[in-house]
């Protein structure tokens, strides 16, 4: 295998790994209030 091909495979694997890590930690990266918290805020707002 040429070096360029190895680098390409490495980058592809890195991208897949990044996607797996991103989706596994989605709650940390995209936080949303818990249902109880959200209901409390909604009640307070009305």
């Amino acid at each position: 295998m040429k070096t360029a091909e190895l680098v390409f495979v490495f980058i592809v694997l890195l991208v897949i790994l990044a996607l797996v890590v991103l989706t596994a930690n989605i709650d940390v990266l995209f936080p949303t209030p818990s249902p109880v918290e959200f209901a409390k805020t909604a009640i307070n707002a009305t």
């Binding site: 897949i16 989706t23 709650d27 949303t32 909604a42």
Partner: protein, 269 residues
């Protein structure tokens, strides 16, 4: 009729022969497709769940803001401090979803087009094929994301309109356009690049129409066969899907590669 006898039928038969002669390659191709679908399910499920959460939160907050006493427009409500954060996150999640589809599609289809060329006894390099597919997929991801956006808007509109009148068939037209776009995409992937594919379609309009007909006939027949199997035993749908759908996809790839290659060769001569 000449075009069917001299070009389409021999290519259909040759694609079938390529598949019958390479059962292991066909199995590998089906496995790559299945693996890509499983990976898509595994990676997209948490993103879909998070998107649903965001849509519910945004919907609730916007409806609170739009209470008559507060008198705000939807856009102003979306830009307000407590909602805009969720809207931004929602768009980031949509971007992540698009990224997942793009990466999985480029890799799986790159490998599968390489396998299809191997079945045709052509020289092929998987990495080269993946990069070619990735380039073409970049253009198509923009077009199909646009189509998906229009469809979403149309679906929302249909929910509102259906309260007042019967359906107008607009969704069916959109679905038809999407199917045409997918077949056009297949032709561009088989041709090797977006530009080559579009050139081929513009030079061979009649042939392309025949190719659309063949694709629709093939998947129509599979769909009828699966319905018949489903009426016998629901489990047979899964088995039938595996043994009919994936080989049909592999056959279609080979058929499109042959047809587009033939015409490109003629154009160059």
């Amino acid at each position: 009729m000449k075009i069917i006898q001299k070009l389409i039928i021999p290519k259909c038969i040759r694609a079938g022969v390529c598949i019958i002669n390479n059962p292991l390659a066909l199995l590998a191709s089906a496995l790559v497709d299945v693996l890509a679908l499983v990976m898509f399910g595994y990676l997209s499920a948490p993103v879909y769940a998070k998107l649903t959460e965001h849509i519910i939160i945004i919907g609730t907050l916007v409806s609170q803001k739009l209470q008559p006493a507060r008198g705000q427009s939807v856009l102003t409500a979306l830009y307000s401090v407590d909602i805009s954060g969720f809207v931004k996150q929602m768009f980031l999640l949509l971007g992540l979803l698009l990224m997942i589809v793009y990466v999985l599609f480029a890799i799986s289809q790159g490998v599968n087009f390489s396998i299809a060329k191997y079945m045709m006894n052509r020289k092929t390099a998987i990495i080269e094929e993946i990069t070619t597919t990735a380039k073409t997929a970049a253009v198509w991801s923009i077009i199909l994301a646009g189509a998906y956006f229009i469809r979403t808007v149309a679906e929302i509109r249909q929910v509102i309109v259906s309260k007042f009148s019967e359906g107008i068939g607009f969704m069916q037209v959109l679905e038809g356009i999407e199917v045409l776009l997918i077949i056009t995409a297949l032709a561009t992937f088989a041709a090797g690049s977006f530009r080559k594919g579009v050139l081929w379609i513009s030079n061979q309009k009649l042939l392309f129409l025949y190719c659309i007909g063949i694709t629709l006939l093939l998947f129509g027949a599979i769909s009828i066969a699966l319905r018949l199997l489903g009426s016998i035993n629901p489990m047979l749908v899964l088995l039938g899907g595996l043994f009919l759908f994936f080989p049909a996809l592999a056959w279609l790839r080979i058929f499109f590669i042959q047809i587009t290659a033939e015409m490109t060769r003629k154009a160059e001569a």
